[in-house]
Symmetry: C2
Subunit: 232 residues, 2 copies
């Protein structure tokens, strides 16, 4: 036990959540990292999440099994859909992509809330980003605010008038380039992160899904080499 | 496919959710019933939920595995706690009971939201009740309202300006006696329902946990015999 405040940090093993974790640590939180095995086709990211958690000194890392494949409806959880490739930024911003997983962030944040309540923790970090990937409804500031409001009515602590719970979204208004720059300044080892929606069996990124394209753009704008292996 | 509106109904197999299901059917909804295997010690209720779903003509019944035992913190999901017995109604109302499961309704409603989104469904029914069991924070009207508000910012339909999603809580302001009376008027077969937090292996209700005591009171106030078997 330390005197430091606790935070539950949602950690997918991707670039954004890993940067978000580094920010939480740099702000002096004792971090409880939470990942999900939710039927994603890019389960490789969970191996990376475990390594990141181990190397950054979080207090505890849990991977919870949840079954979003039960409902389908997304290219990430339903093999009936294909992951789109080689789209322009304009195409990405044009509509909500098929990689959107129905209510995913709502479900993830609900689990984070459950763990936070058991831990007597009043901070949850999530690496959502409204700028470079505005297509996902559950990455928008108004959604986060509404979730925080709901969370403060949902728990025992809320009813008993204890401290208010905050959802921290340090990346919300950053570009991908700013996220990379912030992470590098905090010493994030991006070689451990996995961003691709459709990696190869041996863990190489496809290089052409929306997530790869945005990530590469972020490194390019920092004149940096992305340290992970790509298929193309 | 029918022209009837769709509803996702949270169905635990208990008295409240089964009555709630009957109300949704009576209002003309095509019902998609959703149950959870969440590590509850009273898993017997899931067998009952499956029978209820089969006999009432829901379109589909899904039981989703979720792991709330990963976090513990409740007598229903953590064997370190005991289920309280033989408490008075005053004692029940005095504080949030140890049977409260952290963020359970938030997690359940999040899954309901995910399924509703995939189904293009804009109604979710949950049998929460703020009168006879005011101890649970996530059964209060202000929580439900905040969840509904959040849900309407969380989904693709919300962003694309489609219909508003409603969380229906027909039991919210009913006493347990009124719930039983409503269910009986709709032909609910309460012999199929399971309410007890701590049933015997062969499915008999303990008769003395808070849930049993409230249920029995509801039947007694209707001058009705509760059709389920009790241990005592």
């Amino acid at each position: 036990m330390t005197d430091r405040p606790k935070a539950v940090v949602l950690l997918s093993g991707g670039l954004d959540s890993t940067t978000c974790l580094a920010i939480a640590l740099s702000q002096g939180f004792d971090v409880y990292a939470l990942s999900f095995r939710y039927g994603q086709r890019h389960e490789h990211e969970l191996k990376m999440a475990a390594q990141i958690a181990a190397q950054t000194g979080v207090i505890e890392h849990r991977i919870v099994d949840i079954d979003l494949r039960a409902f389908g409806g997304s290219a990430l959880t339903d093999d009936a859909f294909e992951v789109p490739k080689d789209r322009s930024i304009n195409e990405m911003e044009d509509s909500i992509p098929v990689t959107y997983v129905p209510a995913r962030n709502t479900v993830f944040l609900s689990y984070a809330l459950a763990w936070a309540e058991v831990l007597s923790c009043f901070s949850i970090f999530i690496g959502v980003n409204a700028l470079d990937y505005s297509g996902y409804p559950d990455c928008r500031p108004e959604f986060i605010e509404a979730f925080e409001n709901m969370a403060n009515l949902a728990t025992k602590a809320a009813v008993e008038g204890q401290r208010k719970l905050s959802i921290h979204t340090p990346l919300l208004h950053m570009t991908k380039a700013q996220i990379v720059a912030t992470g590098l300044s905090l010493g994030v080892d991006y070689s451990l992160t996995s961003t691709c929606y459709d990696p190869t069996e041996d863990g190489r990124a496809c290089g052409s899904c929306d997530a790869c394209l945005l990530r590469r753009k972020g490194f390019a704008e920092n004149q940096m080499e992305d340290p992970i292996p790509y298929l193309i």
